[in-house]
């Protein structure tokens, strides 16, 4: 996996930027992944013997386990499928999933690490200046939804890469729905010039 050290090159797409170092960069906030341990799990036994676990079958069918490093939470289902949330990078999500597998394995279950998949990556960024969402919505109509009475942010659904970008008037944005870190940076590269052209000028 490419190291997240990409720098945006000055180009025709970014007429406002002279130096790449001045570009704001999205920071990854959450990575959600799933994995299949390939065997039925006895959740009662797991919560009894493992630490930092909760299981309330009346409320939710899965056990919730947390580990401190990487700081993540896992939903463990009796089917053997796991959802791992809270990691900050793809690599951390994998490490965390493996740690959960190790914990369950130590309790005596026959674990195989199958079908690990990153399901969602969320990142946030600050473009640095306030934006005029109203102007933006009049120009790029087909990709976006802006209903300030429902939600203060503008929702831009980018087709390629397939991500959703929430744009707020403060200039802060959220990019979500990516399956790879590169998609986040690609999406930001695509949206940045668009956002800058809708700066709020006073």
């Amino acid at each position: 996996m490419a190291d997240t050290d990409q720098v945006m090159e000055p180009s025709i797409d970014n007429p406002f930027i002279s130096s790449p170092a001045l570009h704001p960069r999205p920071t990854l906030q959450n990575v959600v992944s799933t994995v299949n341990f390939g065997c039925t799990l006895d959740l009662k036994a797991i919560v009894r013997h493992a630490r930092n676990t909760e299981y309330n079958p009346k409320r939710f069918a899965a056990a919730m386990m947390r580990i401190r490093e990487p700081k993540t939470t896992a939903l463990i289902f009796s089917s053997g499928k796991i959802v791992c949330t809270g990691a900050k990078t793809e690599k951390q999500s994998l490490t965390a999933a493996r740690k959960y597998a190790r914990i369950i394995q130590k309790l005596g279950f026959d674990i195989t690490f199958n079908d690990f998949k990153i399901q969602n990556i969320v990142a946030s960024c600050d473009v640095g200046c306030p934006l005029s969402l109203v102007r933006m919505s009049t120009f790029h109509g087909e990709f976006l939804v802006y209903e300030p009475e429902l939600f203060p942010g503008l929702i831009y659904r980018m087709k390629k890469p397939k991500v959703a970008i929430l744009v707020f008037p403060s200039g802060k944005i959220v990019i979500a729905g990516a399956q790879k870190t590169d998609e986040i940076f690609e999406a930001f590269k695509n949206i940045y010039p668009v956002l800058m052209s809708f700066r709020k000028t006073k």
Partner: protein, 106 residues
């Protein structure tokens, strides 16, 4: 009626259990009666803590482990402080076992 048996693990509860066990093994007490005594102990403890205890204590510390199983919370705190109106007590390690009192009335 179901009772919370967690108070049997307190020092007083353990002493009662020990005493009753002794009495049952040398025949002075029937096992059924011993169980009745323990059930009454559970009820009395719950009743006493509910109605006769008014003090409030704040417990703060680093949560080492937690567990929620069968509607029972178990916490292990490190470096905890028990603060109330008139005293502060610091402990290295404390285990807290908590049951939901709403479950008793169901």
């Amino acid at each position: 009626m179901a009772t919370f048996e967690l108070y049997r693990r307190s020092t007083i509860g353990m002493c009662l259990t020990e005493t009753l066990d002794e009495m049952v093994s040398n025949g002075t007490l029937s096992p059924e009666l011993a169980i009745e005594v323990l059930v009454q102990f559970d009820k009395s403890m719950t009743e006493a803590l509910e109605s006769q205890v008014k003090s409030k204590v704040t417990i703060a510390g680093h949560l080492h482990t937690y567990r929620f199983c069968d509607n029972v919370w178990t916490f292990i705190l490190q470096g905890a402080s028990f603060k109330s109106e008139d005293f502060v007590q610091n402990v290295d390690r404390v285990k807290i076992v908590a049951c939901d009192s709403k479950l008793l009335s169901q």
